[in-house]
Symmetry: C2
Subunit: 150 residues, 2 copies
Amino acid sequence: MNIGQAAKASGVSAKMIRYYEQTGLIPKADRRDSGYRDYSPGDVNMLRFIRRARDLGFAVTEINELLNLWRDRSRHSADVKRIAQSHIFELQDRIKGLNQMVDTLQGLVSCCAGDDRPDCPIIADLEEPSSGSALPAPASVGIGRLRHRP
Amino acid sequence: MNIGQAAKASGVSAKMIRYYEQTGLIPKADRRDSGYRDYSPGDVNMLRFIRRARDLGFAVTEINELLNLWRDRSRHSADVKRIAQSHIFELQDRIKGLNQMVDTLQGLVSCCAGDDRPDCPIIADLEEPSSGSALPAPASVGIGRLRHRP
DNA sequence: CTTGACCTTCCAATGATGGGAAGCCTCACA
DNA sequence: TGTGAGGCTTCCCATCATTGGAAGGTCAAG
């Protein structure tokens, strides 16, 4: 199976398949005499596994751990659960940060006349944040990667 | 005021101040004879404005629009409100996507024994997603940039 | 005058992804 | 058997916001 077919079957783009191979997330694919990569149905399963984990927001490093457990028939489900649980916490942190942003913005938007006059509490708050509108710890609020999927 | 002091006063790192200047988000700073950039309190206000908008999750392109409105004394608050409102929608989309991930994962985690046996519904679902656990539209779910803040 | 803290520019890396060019391979069709 | 389309290969570049570092100039205090 060529890379294009594997891509279509797995939902992972050919570009990304090569990238995952290059970064070591997946083993180097077999090659035909022509140099073309050759994928088995098992490989496609692995790619779908990765695709699915990405859809759930796992970072590539986490996916790597999950893949190792997937391949390990003597894994302990506790290890899988731990990874998933810690990912949940991470997601919840991000959600919390985003919710705080929304709350702040909604407060401001609801105070803005939205007419043709220049006075605007949103601008005012950006200039000089009012105490009530504070983001939590300006430090590390729920910030993080979530992929480019155009 | 040197760039380091402006950075400290505004909460925007010196690196980022130079970057914003380079990309045209902010005008080129005045220079002293030595070549050092020189910032006025007004410049620091602008930097704090940017910092604050970043904290609220605005993308740099949006910040650019906001800065233009900020500088425009004959702005219409409606324009500001529109930008803020559309940013709220964007944030809410992201939150929705993240919540769906959390829901799916929580369903799986709650079904996982988390012991030393290998059987694990999380792994199983990654292999072959069960219908109930679906992400919404595998397409463009709340995906987006949110900065690296280490 | 020396020293250390600051500033300058330039270059590189991050993570996940897409875009494109130059060149080889394959298959179907005439 | 030749040819063309389309797939594959590698390699390089761009994204976005941000950080890091190296090499060298400047400033202020001792």
